[in-house]
């Protein structure tokens, strides 16, 4: 990167600077002995040319739209198009969520993102005993395609892209989306969106669980195959680090485990479905966390793009540039927010969103200040959305592409994160892959260690959270508290029992039998799921088939 002359000059000047620092510190010590990121990565007082001397400009940095895509996938950066403003929303009934969606679209949001309630996420209907007390609490309750159609009422499926955070029942909710499009006369080749559909991180972190890892990956490969053939505009997996980070992982762990999960899916689809990597890899998408440590997050996102590009090209011999692109959504870190002094959360979210943008995200959710306490209020959501709009249209950070490139610190930190991530990836390779690593509890224990270490650092005031362990006050800040009352559950139960009376139950049984037989034969379940939801089979009825054929997975409670 630098001529020997420059490095020699830097060396001389550096030693002069070091002498100066030593003198000052001898008189007055630094405020604290160690300076680290939120993930405990040690940071130096200063970075200089020597920290990135071994970088090869063409190989390691390059240009936007060119391998290894460190500086972004798109040659035009944000000038051609800002990231998608995509706020995660779902609450109570389908009608209520549909109302919130229209409110967000009218406020300038450019894509939709669905939060389902826990019964839906776990593949239970509202009338399951396991669902008692949970209906509509953390998201929208969907039992059947009737609910789904209320959810998407007056949403143009051929122009708005919709993301659905759904994992074990991903095949079913996607089937509802596909079936709804078909019933509106919109071809499957015209719809755009994303299903999260990433089970590996569920075992590692988020814990919406249904079947064991192996058959879970099989169902995911079914969706990838179906999407490749019939729904080319759909992102069939959103390989997610967000929840891994929220569970307590460090930035490096988030990066490494997420990318290794991605590699596991690639390998399974190639092996199980016989597809060529370039037939499906362009539709794989990613989802990262934007935590509070500003530069660490920017470095992480830049490193993620470079690692994926290298992995696709070198590990999987991909020939298509579109497979090398890591396209990702980002969400600001829920776990960085505090219930204490909740208005401070606006500031945290703004800083995190800025890091996501400087890291080159293509889609963003900004948390609302009250999300640490309850579902977001309309007012709080508006501030969160406006935060993105201010970053995009007022601050000037979108004027130029990847403005931090070439920074001694950012490039050095990006390299360091990449190296540390590869170390983890190779370690997991040696264990026999991610499914094997999960079965032996490896990523779970690594995250558990990091989460415990962090909490002890907070308790010891070695790491600071304002309002939690520093600048605390006894003042109680009253903020409006959104609550889902029990009438939502009652009404949803009535709707479900009414549907079960009205539908052709013989037809439902036939559809479920077809799904069962597809599972047993190892066929792709997607066409059967679409047929089943059109005939009003419910989420749980189909998931019960999966549970019956593949077995049920229980959280082993590793800590």
């Amino acid at each position: 990167m630098f001529t020997p002359d420059v490095l020699e000059q830097s060396k001389t000047m550096r030693s002069k600077w070091e002498d100066e620092v030593k003198k000052i510190v001898a008189k007055k010590a630094d405020q604290k002995p160690e300076w680290t990121t939120v993930s405990d990565l040690a940071i130096k007082r200063l970075y200089g040319p020597e920290d990135i001397r071994d970088m090869d400009f063409a190989k390691d940095i390059s240009y936007p739209g060119q391998y290894p895509f460190l500086r972004g996938n798109q040659a035009t950066g944000y000038r051609g198009k800002y990231w998608t403003f995509r706020m995660f929303a779902g609450m109570g009934s389908a009608e209520e969520t549909n109302k919130r969606w229209h409110y967000l679209l009218n406020s300038g949001q450019t894509g939709l993102s669905t939060a389902f309630d826990f019964p839906t996420l776990m593949g239970y209907d509202t009338d399951s005993p396991k669902a008692r007390g949970e209906c509509g609490k953390c998201g929208v309750a969907i039992d059947s395609i009737e609910d789904f159609q209320k959810l998407i009422k007056d949403i143009p499926l051929d122009t708005i892209s919709t993301s659905m955070t759904i994992n074990p029942p991903a095949t079913i909710l996607w089937a509802m989306y596909c079936a709804s499009a078909q019933m509106q006369g919109i071809g499957l080749d015209k719809i755009n969106g994303t299903i999260q559909n990433d089970m590996l991180k569920e075992f590692i972190a988020q814990k919406t669980l249904m079947c064991p890892p192996e058959p879970s990956v099989k169902l995911i490969s079914d969706t990838v195959e179906f999407g490749t053939k019939y729904v080319p505009g759909w992102n069939t997996i959103s390989i997610s680090g967000y929840h891994i980070r929220e569970a307590g992982a460090t930035a490096v762990q988030e990066l490494a485990f997420t990318l290794r999960d991605g590699m596991e899916y690639v390998e399974d689809v190639i092996k199980r479905k016989g597809l060529h990597v370039d037939q499906f890899a362009p539709r794989l998408s990613f989802f990262f966390n934007a935590h509070i440590d500003f530069f660490e997050e920017i470095a992480k996102l830049r490193a993620a793009r470079r690692i994926w590009a290298k992995a696709m090209r070198e590990r999987y011999n991909s020939q298509d540039q579109r497979s090398w692109w890591m396209r990702f959504h980002t969400q600001t870190a829920g776990c960085s927010l505090t219930a204490q002094q909740p208005y401070n959360n606006v500031v945290r979210t703004a800083v995190e969103a800025l890091a996501a943008v400087l890291g080159g995200t293509q889609s963003l959710h900004t948390n609302s200040l009250d999300e640490v306490l309850c579902l977001p209020s309309e007012h709080a959501v508006q501030i969160a959305l406006r935060t993105q709009q201010i970053i995009a249209e007022e601050t000037g950070v979108t004027n130029t592409i990847d403005p931090l490139a070439g920074s001694y610190f950012i490039e050095s930190l990006t390299n360091e994160m990449e190296e540390k991530a590869w170390d983890y990836i190779h370690k997991i390779d040696d264990m026999g892959g991610m499914v094997a690593a999960i079965e032996r509890g490896f990523p779970q224990m690594e995250i558990s260690d990091a989460a415990y270490r962090f909490q002890r650092q907070i308790d010891a005031e070695e790491k600071i959270m304002i309002g939690v362990n520093k600048y605390n006050t006894d003042d109680v800040v009253e903020i409006p508290f959104v609550e889902i009352d029990d009438t939502v559950e009652r009404e949803q139960l009535e709707r479900l029992s009414d549907l079960k009376r009205r539908r052709d139950s013989r037809k439902v049984s036939e559809c479920l039998k077809d799904i069962k037989s597809a599972c047993e034969k190892g066929d792709n379940v997607m066409p059967y799921c679409i047929e089943a939801v059109k005939n009003y089979a419910t989420v749980q009825e189909i998931c019960d088939v999966y549970r019956e054929v593949y077995g049920e997975y229980r959280d082993p409670g590793i800590y």
């Binding site: 826990f118 019964p119 996420l121 776990m122 239970y124 005993p129 396991k130 669902a131 008692r132 007390g133 949970e134 609490k137 953390c138 569920e202 988020q206 814990k207 919406t208 669980l209 929220e246 569970a247 307590g248 776990c335 505090t338 219930a339 204490q340 640490v372 306490l373 309850c374 558990s448 989460a451 415990y452 909490q455 002890r456 907070i458 308790d459 939690v468 605390n472 508290f481 609550e483 889902i484 229980r554 959280d555 082993p556 409670g557 800590y559």
Partner: protein, 134 residues
């Protein structure tokens, strides 16, 4: 028997999978010298009470962040009473709005730990309030 360690069942009732807090507490309890049984996510109140009786614990700690604590926490306390095991102390944690405190205490919960509670303060509460049962 007086040397018996305090035995704690940590449990996550309901469908919520946010287990970071429960797992961090499990480690803190172990390091504080308690015996800990953590049963993982997605336990029904019936499963939790069954485990509490089988493991002969002194305290059940519940963690739920989905908002379903208003139903699930009282249900655990109620089932323990039905089993004649109301000498097992039940405590809870999570995002619990102020207005839910009194109904939960009335339902039999002895303590509620909310954001800002340190590991040390929770362990101290246990040492001061839980005696190993004979």
């Amino acid at each position: 028997m007086s040397n018996r360690k305090i035995r704690i069942l940590l449990a996550k009732p309901g469908l919520d999978g946010h287990d970071r807090g429960a797992k961090v507490l499990a480690r803190a309890f172990r390091d504080a010298g308690f015996e800990v049984i953590y049963t993982g996510c997605h336990q029904t109140p019936e499963q939790i009470v069954g485990a509490a009786l089988q493991e002969d614990v002194d305290m059940v700690g519940l963690s739920c962040l989905s908002g379903a604590h208003t139903y699930l926490y009282p249900r655990v306390a109620e089932l323990l009473r039905e089993q004649g095991a109301d000498d097992i102390t039940v405590v809870g944690g999570g995002i619990i709005p102020d207005k839910d405190f009194q109904p939960l205490y009335d339902a039999g919960l002895k303590a509620l730990f909310t954001p800002g509670a340190t590991l040390e303060s929770i362990c101290t509460w246990i040492q001061e309030n839980i005696k190993p049962r004979d």
